[in-house]
């Protein structure tokens, strides 16, 4: 017997609703769970003091700073290369063996587990280049890791800019670079920035790649060559070694808030930029 159209319609709606509610519910539950466990630990002292006694006491200031430094290095290094590659692939070369090869390479890089990046960074940056466990080694390793994300999202963003805009640019006597800089870049920027935010999220949350390259020292990093323990690594160690679950949750809660703040801030920034023309 065939299902009546009305019944199948209602059934489909119920299934789709249920999956949406389930997913959103799960997300909210995780968020609420960690915030409920972690927020009571958060205090001014927790944010402004360095850890003491292997993390049993004190705060997490040095891990916050380490997270920001390592992420900053990664984004500053990866953004120009990633966005540059995306522009090369979309604007400066024709589809061919070369572009397919680069894209295949980027996709393969994206699929590699982060621990492999950690191992690579450890052997290449830490040992071979003698950078040691440091903010720089960690940042560079993360830069390699987020490169594919930035390339792919930037490429998508650039591709969605109507070809017509480029034609107009050329027809006004602009060179290729001027056309790209004044018409393609502004239109593609929101998409490119979204990709960078995604990349920041990955950096901030990464443990495996960082623990092998930036180390797990608890002091406040003072230079690019200082070893560093990021927040994600900190709560991994705190939880794994059973040092202090409540401090691990506190760190996790702060990490979530940090990612939230970064996303909202960058979105506001992009919207303001885009709104100028709309």
């Amino acid at each position: 017997m065939r299902m009546s159209p009305r019944l199948s319609q209602n059934l489909a709606r119920a299934v789709i609703w249920a999956s949406a509610v389930l997913v959103i519910g799960l997300l909210l539950f995780i968020l609420a769970f960690i915030l409920a466990k972690g927020l009571p630990t958060l205090s001014w002292d927790f944010l402004t003091q360095n850890p003491s006694d292997m993390g049993r006491g004190g705060g997490i200031l040095s891990t916050i700073a380490s997270t920001l430094f390592v992420t900053l290095v990664a984004v500053v290094v990866a953004t120009p290369f990633g966005v540059g590659t995306a522009f090369y692939l979309t604007e400066y070369t024709r589809e061919g063996r070369m572009t397919r090869f680069i894209r295949f390479g980027a996709e393969s890089l994206a699929a590699i587990p982060s621990i492999v990046y950690g191992l690579f960074g450890f052997i290449f940056f830490v040992i071979t280049l003698k950078m040691g466990w440091s903010v720089l080694s960690g940042g560079l390793t993360l830069a390699v890791m987020i490169l594919p994300t930035i390339i792919r999202t930037s490429e998508e963003a650039i591709r969605t800019v109507p070809k017509m805009y480029r034609d107009v640019g050329f027809s006004l006597g602009a060179t290729k670079w001027q056309t790209i800089a004044t018409t393609v870049v502004p239109s593609a920027l929101p998409g490119i920035v979204t990709g960078i935010i995604l990349a920041i999220g990955r950096c901030v949350a990464e443990t495996a790649a960082v623990i092998l390259t930036a180390g797990s020292a608890l002091q406040l990093p003072t230079s690019l060559f200082s070893p560093a323990r990021t927040m994600a690594v900190h709560f991994y160690i705190m939880a794994r070694e059973g040092i202090s679950m409540e401090r691990a949750y506190g760190t996790a809660a702060l990490l979530i808030l940090l990612i939230l703040v970064i996303n909202v801030a960058v979105n506001l920034l992009v919207n303001r930029f885009v709104a100028k023309g709309r």
């Binding site: 017509m164 107009v168 027809s171 006004l172 006597g173 602009a174 502004p186 100028k276 023309g277 709309r278």
Partner: protein, 271 residues
Amino acid sequence: MEESATQPPTAATPSATAAKLAMRHVDFHYGPFRALKDISLDIHDRAITAIIGPSGCGKSTLLRTFNRMNELIPRTRVTGDVLLDGTGIYGPDVDVAVLRKRIGMVFQRPNPFPASIYDNVAIGPRRHGRKEPDVQEIVERSLCRAALWDEVKDGLKGPALALSAGQQQLLCIARALAVEPEAILMDEPCSSLDPAATLEVEELMLELAQEYAIVIVTHNMQQAARVSSMSACMMMDPDRAGVLAEYDATSLIFTNPKDKRTEDYISGRIG
């Protein structure tokens, strides 16, 4: 077919006798496909030349050969001579950016950038190194020339995309005028406009024709008859290459076409 390409239009000003743009035995290839075959014609200064003909006969390709926009497409090739003021534009020492600054273009659909009205017009002059007090003057002059100033002068910082389609097309014409071109190419500029907006654009074209050489591609016979002084009727050869069937004063083309295919096209039997 007679060689009538060098005859000036009936109501021409004296300077119209000199060809602003010209083609001599031009062939155009997309890869192995020949899209234009042996095109020779003179475009008069300070006059409107219409390019008419059935779909796919190479009208837009012909138009875009004048400002080298075709070469943005890979594997295209031009042979023969394309001349601006008697000088070849496909020569090795020609700066394409300078060429395109001299020959403006208006596209089929209104396509302002998602920016303010002011910035849309200012983009050309800014790119060519003009500074702000100059730019402001050019923007005002261009919008005036495009008959849009009165409507937008109080909202120059407003978004261009909020304008009506007709106003957007006038804005695109102002944007093209702002780089101070010598000739303007229009690729079916009214095909997405309503009759009232079409009329506005046509009036503007007649106005601009007092200063510029204008070439317009159009599917609209009445439009060609209304605005142009010269008409080039293109046709497709059996091998699908575009050829120039007839080129003459518009009044003659529409009343007394010499070419059988032109006659059939204009009277609506083909196309």
